[in-house]
């Protein structure tokens, strides 16, 4: 038998050691969280500082005299004449109003590169819509040329190179001081599809594409996943076949996503002859990819329903179906939703499988339905990040912000739904 006082001494010493261990452990935890938060802050600062200019557009507002003689146009309602007319001329003329000495051929070319490449198309479209405007003077807001926009927004930023000539820089400064060139909220970004011209490119097409694709994914993956989980947990006999199915579901969760893209290409497009680049095929592929995640988490949620509840319902005489529908599913629903959020978030950020089924195509139109060509947010970001024009750099970052906002909205909705279901039960 040990001396009681020395035993107390031993315990005291071991206590000290234990407390030290506890403190150390707590420190590791705090350090891990700090590192994670710090990385997150850096990530967000970088994205926001690079991308916020994507939400600002540079415009050139000009009083354009729509002179028929200048454009070689007598009748704006005649498609043949519209096809032949020169719509750049009145824009240059309007700019020459500010810089009368710029008359040489080189000067004119430089003037034409003050407004975006689609400025002449803008004039053409306006005249097509309003043939009676011919001969009148109108105030038209043009997007500034990419190089002008970069100069206005990023002059002095080492990350950008200014590609304006000395003369163009002088002009830009002067037009800025006169308020002809101005910056404002980039409504184009939120109301257009993709474009070759950064000032004309928007995220709306990709946003709608993502929305449609996610809709298809959710509508297919959630019910199928939950049904599969319920069957496997509640109804399936446990034999070799169900074991085999279980192992394969777990394996599918680890299959690289690009394989699902190949599968979609071979099966949906190759075998079933579905169209390329459409949200339905994208949604189907992403649903296949998401299914294992949803099934696994749904099964875990069903397993965690206390057996006492199941017994209580069975004891009253509820049938298997009633036990599942009235008790197991409602109690497992929050867990199933959590799994689905994770799966959907993964699907939303997925690029690789969609590249294979053609959703990487250059698509200008905003998709109108599940069967019209579309791209999705991460693919759009991927396209912009690889584009040559400097203006796309900030658009890519702005696109990432939109993607994050989409993700947060989606998750917030799912969390709200989960909370609501939890309260009801």
């Amino acid at each position: 038998m040990t001396n009681p006082s020395s035993q107390a001494e031993l315990v005291r010493r071991s206590l000290k050691r234990r407390y030290r261990k506890e403190r150390r452990f707590r420190f590791y935890g705090v350090a891990a969280i700090s590192i994670a938060l710090f990385s997150l802050v850096i990530l967000f600062t970088d994205i926001i500082s690079k991308g916020y200019t994507g939400f600002i557009k540079t415009t050139v507002t000009l009083e354009v005299h729509l002179d028929g003689e200048l454009m070689y146009l007598n009748d704006a309602s005649d498609p043949d004449q519209i096809a032949m007319a020169d719509f750049q001329a009145p824009i240059i003329k309007a700019l020459q109003g500010y810089f009368p000495q710029a008359t040489s051929r080189a000067d004119k070319r430089e003037l034409s590169r003050m407004t975006g490449s689609y400025a002449s198309n803008q004039v053409r479209d306006l005249l097509k819509e309003n043939p009676d405007w011919l001969g009148s003077t109108r105030t038209i807001e043009f997007p500034a040329h990419d190089t002008v926009s970069v100069y206005v927004k990023h002059a002095g930023d080492p990350g950008y190179s200014i590609r304006l000539t000395e003369q163009q820089q002088r002009w830009t400064d002067e037009l800025l001081s006169k308020g002809v060139i101005d910056t404002g909220f980039n409504d184009v970004f939120f109301s257009r599809g993709d474009s070759r011209e950064p000032s004309n490119a928007g995220i709306l097409g990709a946003l709608i594409g993502s929305l449609l694709t996610m809709g298809v994914t959710l509508v297919i993956a959630f019910p199928v996943g939950v049904a599969a989980a319920v069957y496997l947990e509640e109804f399936a006999p446990s034999n070799r076949l169900t074991d085999f199915i279980e192992v394969n579901i777990n394996n599918l969760a680890a299959v690289p996503s690009i394989i699902f893209g190949l599968l979609g290409l071979a099966v949906f497009i190759g075998l079933f002859g579905m169209p390329r680049s459409v949200p339905v095929v994208g949604g189907l592929v992403l649903a296949l990819m998401t299914l294992p995640t949803i099934i696994i988490s749904s099964r875990a949620a069903i397993k965690s329903v206390p057996p006492s509840i199941r017994e209580a319902a069975e004891g009253i005489g509820a049938s298997k179906m009633q036990v599942v529908l009235h008790h197991v599913l409602p109690l497992a629903m929050p867990g199933m939703l959590t799994g689905s959020i994770i799966g959907m978030a993964q699907a939303l950020g997925e690029t690789a499988p969609l590249l294979l089924i053609g959703m990487v195509a250059f698509i200008v139109e905003i998709p109108e339905g599940f069967f019209s060509s579309a791209t999705v947010l991460p693919v759009q970001i991927f396209i912009w990040a690889g584009s040559a024009e400097q203006g796309f750099v900030e658009l890519a970052s702005a696109g990432i912000m939109v993607l994050l906002a989409f993700l947060i909205t989606m998750n917030a909705f799912a969390i709200w739904l989960r909370k609501r279901l939890e309260r009801r039960w």
Binding site: E311, A312, G315, I316, A318, S319, W425
Partner: protein
């Protein structure tokens, strides 16, 4: 022990088939101090296991979990409107046997049941038998109070709803009120029927579970250690309730508390290692048990 017996008086007239074959104890290998070694002859139950008005007629019942034989050749009658208590040490098979009576063992894949189990002369385990209908007739109350995470009202109304017992809201209201009254819970909860059942105290939850079980008007109520998670006051309430219920229901109660068995039951069945050792009038079991194992158990020598 054995002096505080207070059974509910009830006239029963079972024609007892006395099992007199007491296993001869080997004086060297099976001393009285180690009753677990006592040889029990399979299928031999001492006392009065049979009744002339049986609700349940159970013959040669065997239950297997995989290869393990959990219930060994048990024959027993449960009389109409009696309260029978199953006692015995942990793992003796009393809960398993109880759960055979409304087929709660069905959900266990490895569980197989042999023998004949008749409820009012009809085979419980007949392949054509609808287990839902059986459980509507044979209700169950579990060891741990397990109310649904719903309102008090919905808990009681659940059974009548799924069985279509009430077509109108007022009928359902009546069933809920009656059941809660019978369970002695009405006065405590009548003002908060919409409150969550999980917010009640343990004793109230267990009485709610009883109310839920009797809401479908079963003929038999099985109780699997209904008071083991409750304090003495809540236990006393439940025991009172069992006494009241015995007027109109057949009650089978599994309990670890011998005092409880003595207080609430007419007959007591003693289980040991899957055998049904002795069944007798409760007063007899607790005063003059016939089998030495029963005696060892009730005098606290093991268990």
């Amino acid at each position: 022990m054995g002096t505080t017996i207070n059974t509910i008086p009830k006239t029963m007239n079972p024609t007892a088939i006395k099992e007199t074959a007491m296993p001869e104890a080997d004086p060297i290998n099976a001393p009285v101090e180690r009753p677990a070694d006592t040889v029990i002859e399979e299928g031999k139950t001492v006392g009065i296991p049979f009744s002339d008005d049986p609700k349940f007629k159970l013959r040669d019942v065997e239950v297997f979990y995989g290869e393990t034989r959990a219930i060994k050749n048990i024959s027993l009658d449960i009389a109409r409107n009696e309260v029978i208590a199953f006692i015995g040490p942990s793992g003796c098979g009393k809960s398993t046997f109880l759960r055979c009576l409304n087929r709660m063992n069905d959900s266990i894949d490895s569980c197989r049941i042999k023998g004949s189990l008749l409820l009012d002369g009809q085979n419980i385990y007949d392949s054509k038998r609808d287990v839902v209908e059986l459980r509507a007739r044979v209700g169950m109350v579990f060891q741990k109070p397990n109310p649904f995470p719903k309102s008090i009202y919905d808990n009681v109304a659940y059974g009548p709803r799924i069985h279509g017992l009430a077509n109108r809201k007022s009928d359902l209201d009546d069933i809920v009120e009656n059941s809660l009254r019978k369970a002695g819970l009405w006065n405590e909860v009548k003002d908060r029927l919409d409150a969550m059942a999980t917010g009640m105290s343990g004793g109230q939850q267990q009485r709610l579970c009883i109310a839920r079980a009797i809401a479908v008007s079963p003929e038999v109520v099985l109780m699997d250690e209904p008071c083991s998670a409750l304090d003495p006051i809540a236990t006393a309430r439940i025991e009172e309730l069992i006494a009241e219920m015995s007027e109109s229901y057949t009650i089978v109660i599994v309990t670890h508390s011998m005092q409880q068995a003595a207080r609430v039951s007419n007959r007591t069945a003693y289980f040991h290692l899957g055998h049904l050792v002795e069944v007798n009038d409760t007063s007899k079991v607790f005063t003059t048990p016939e089998h030495e194992l029963t005696e060892s158990y009730i005098t606290g020598r093991f268990g």
